[in-house]
Amino acid sequence: MSALFPAHLDLEEEEDLEVFSKKTSLTDGGPNSPSSMMNQYRLEAEEEEEEKEEKELFVTVDHPESHVTAIETFITYRVLTKTTRSDFDCSEFEVRRRYQDFLWLRSRLEENHPTLIVHPLPEKFVMKGMVERFNEDFIETRRRALQRFLSKISEHPLLSCSPHLKIFLTTQDLQSHKKQAPGFLTRVGETVRAVAHSVRGVRSRPEEFTLMQEYVEQFSSKISSVDKVTQRIIREQREYVDEMKQYSPPYSQWGGMEEALQLPLQEVAGCVQRCSTETQLQLQHLSTVLLPALHEYMLCADTLKAVMRRRDNIQAEYEARREAMEKRGDQEGEEVQALQEKVEVCNSSLQVDWSRWRSSMRTDLKTALLSTAESNLQHYEKCLAVWETFLLSQREEGSEQKEEEAP
């Protein structure tokens, strides 16, 4: 048993625990059985495709603030909720949340919906480079990602109904509520069982999930490549901008030395400077729009892998139980039947959520790429206008001069 207990498991980090309990039902608080809930979900997901429903839940994350205590320093964000839903007491809520709170919410959601695709959170901290946690850019990037996370959750047909989400959005004192989570030892036991099953492996995975797995592997690698290329472009562009800044002054300086050439040289200096500014804007767009979107989907790929593992584990557990039962010669007991139903529900919910995710991914990445193309297009159009203005002024001067020279 102890050999199966992974030494690296850090029980402090909630996001590392793949916790699921067979006792917890798939949806908490719903009186309906899992399968009918599933049908409802399928229906709603389809409806979402057909009609653009008005958002009932609208969440924003802003106003980062720094908090200093004796033990630590951390950032909190204002989470503002506007809603028309009847299950909310008011139509507007305002709370302050820190990153840990978001982690809590996500792990609760994953726990209760092990085979739904829960949008990832931004990473705990940036690995490469010495980026301070309190650096302005870092905070802004994180704020946006947190906003994305909550938007995705509140748009999700099932996850948006989660009581944990409601607590997160409405409760002023979240800390005391967090302590009500299932006990430590229970979670350890469940984890051990989970690992045991995953080691055993799945006997007969349905074809569609094998295909899904393959796709996820490849998607993860491709999106990671696109991310790397984009990072390199940003690096190169940054160096280009730095050199451009040094390119305008010599023209200016030269202009100061000349008479007839003074004006054209000063104008060229101006053109170069304006183009340099435009390039900086273009760079900023890459960093704030394209790169975060790609990064987000890199994290999604990891989430998908985890979801697939959990689905496999659920199936493995069922198969193990059934085998054990068959060996004993028992008739199919209630327990095994429940597990079988669980497998079916998990598979269907994953299928539906999968196509929802695919569609959403396509929209998000298409938007990000379109936006980048547009930004690059505008950059060139602005630079074009800058140089065309110069050219026109020179041609006008040229024709004026010719008029002067005419007898």
């Binding site: 190169e236 390119y247 030395m257 060229v268 297009l377 159009e381």
Partner: protein, 445 residues
């Protein structure tokens, strides 16, 4: 072709920015050579080709060098283009050709420098590649470098041929017409002797008492111009380097989008075709930067011109100095005469001192000395007059050429800046094309 950017703010698009025919011609030829000299009325000059040769050099070692083909054609009047042949008459006559190597050009230029010290002699293209951004080869035998040098050499010949003074030079004429025996002819002129004195003028440290303000200002200007153009070329090369990096990395998108498209259904086509446009984008930088090299070459020509200007100013300093020396020499001799005649010693002289120490000389001795001095003074006055004339003529001719040079410089550099703007516009238009196409592809995703 302007893509619809979809923004509310109208980006000003001004008129026709396509290159006019004169501008396109000036892009090909480095210089606007308009001045018609007697020489250019007679002949058209081209440096048509470059070829590699191997041979033994002066120390009997094998070396590879490049030779350039100079073509001389009978000049056509404006209305007669070579393409418009009169029906019934055969094809236009073949040009006279000869081969020259770079060292021949160098010899020609040195000859001109020495023979016309008051003229700003056009520079040769650089011997070794400098100010290169790193992707360009610094190898002298690299075909692109050879090609740019060919253009530079043609430019040099056209500059000389269109110069009011230089175009009439016989040695220059022979350079264009006599392949064999030209080197001997140059050496026979004995310009080597003058070459030594020229070197002296360039390197000597002497102070002129009454410098001509115009020349001082000109020398200072040319030094400053040299500094600023050097800096500009250095930065430009670095900017080109970085721009190259940006474009080329986009090429990776091509490969990655293609791989990604293979696993996608609805997104596949859009991604794949967008990837192709990224490849196009990455490839486009090579031509863009190659064109910019022409601009750099135009700036380099004027960078090298500053050396020629400086050398004219230095020569003037030398002549001025020699003039001052001659004048000073005459003054001192006259004073000596005065002393000798009146017997007073005002100016320290060895003769005067020795006569004091060893007794005064005889009347005979004094008279002979006086006669010698008179002679010397007469010669000195002749020399001074000559030097004065030389100086005045030099100043006049030099200043005339300086004015001509200034006008030429203003015109050429303005054209260069315009052609640079045209290059930037072309680059922007290509960028607009690529990203419009990419946008369309992404839309299909």
């Amino acid at each position: 072709m302007m893509a619809d950017s979809g923004s509310n703010e109208e980006v000003a698009v001004i008129g026709n920015t396509d290159i006019t025919s004169t501008e396109s011609e000036s892009n090909i030829i480095n210089t606007m050579v308009e001045r018609e000299t007697a020489l250019l009325r007679k002949m058209e000059i081209n440096v048509a080709e470059a070829e590699k040769r191997t041979g033994k050099n002066t120390v009997n070692m094998q070396e590879t060098y490049t030779v350039y083909l100079i073509e001389i054609r009978k000049a056509h009047k404006q209305s007669q283009r070579p393409a418009e042949t009169v029906p019934g008459v055969g094809a236009p006559a073949a040009p006279d050709t000869l081969w020259r190597r770079y060292s021949d050009f160098e010899l020609l230029r040195t000859f001109l420098l020495v023979t016309y010290p008051y003229i700003i002699i056009p520079p040769l293209p650089e011997k070794r590649a400098e100010f290169q951004w790193h992707k360009l080869s610094a190898d002298n035998l690299d075909p692109d470098f050879v090609e740019r040098r060919r253009v530079g050499l043609e430019n040099f010949l056209l500059r000389v041929a269109s110069h009011p003074v230089l175009s009439n030079d016989k040695i220059f004429f022979f350079f264009l017409t006599e392949e064999k025996g030209w080197r001997e002819a140059v050496l026979e002129t004995g310009f080597q002797d003058k070459a030594d004195s020229r070197l002296k003028s360039l390197s000597a440290m002497f102070r002129v008492k009454n410098p001509d303000k115009r020349f001082t200002a000109m020398k200072q200007y040319s030094d400053e111009l040299n500094t600023v153009i050097s800096q500009l070329l250095r930065v430009r090369a670095r900017v080109a380097d970085r721009l190259y990096g940006v474009y080329k990395v986009h090429g990776n998108y091509g490969r990655v989008f293609s791989e990604w498209s293979a696993i996608e259904k609805e997104m596949g086509d859009g991604l794949q075709s967008a990837g192709h446009h990224m490849d196009t984008y990455a490839a486009s930088i090579d031509d863009i930067l190659e064109e910019e090299e022409h601009y750099a070459d135009q700036l380099k020509e004027y960078l090298f011109y500053t050396d020629a200007v400086r050398s004219v100013c230095k020569k003037h300093d030398l002549i001025q100095y020699e003039l001052e020396m001659a004048a000073q020499d005459l003054v001192s001799k006259k004073q000596q005469r005065e002393e000798l005649a009146t017997g007073t010693v005002r100016v320290f002289s060895l003769k005067g001192m020795t006569s004091k120490l060893f007794g005064t000389e005889s009347q005979e001795q004094r008279e002979s000395r006086l006669a010698a001095l008179e002679q010397s003074i007469q010669e000195g006055e002749e020399a001074l007059k000559e030097k004065n004339t030389e100086c005045q003529e030099f100043v006049q001719m030099a200043w005339e050429d300086i004015e001509r040079f200034k006008e030429q410089k203003d015109k050429d550099l303005r054209e260069a800046l315009i052609s640079y703007a045209i290059m930037q516009i072309s680059m922007c238009k290509k960028g607009i094309q690529v990203w419009s196409n990419a946008k369309e592809c992404f839309n299909k995703m």
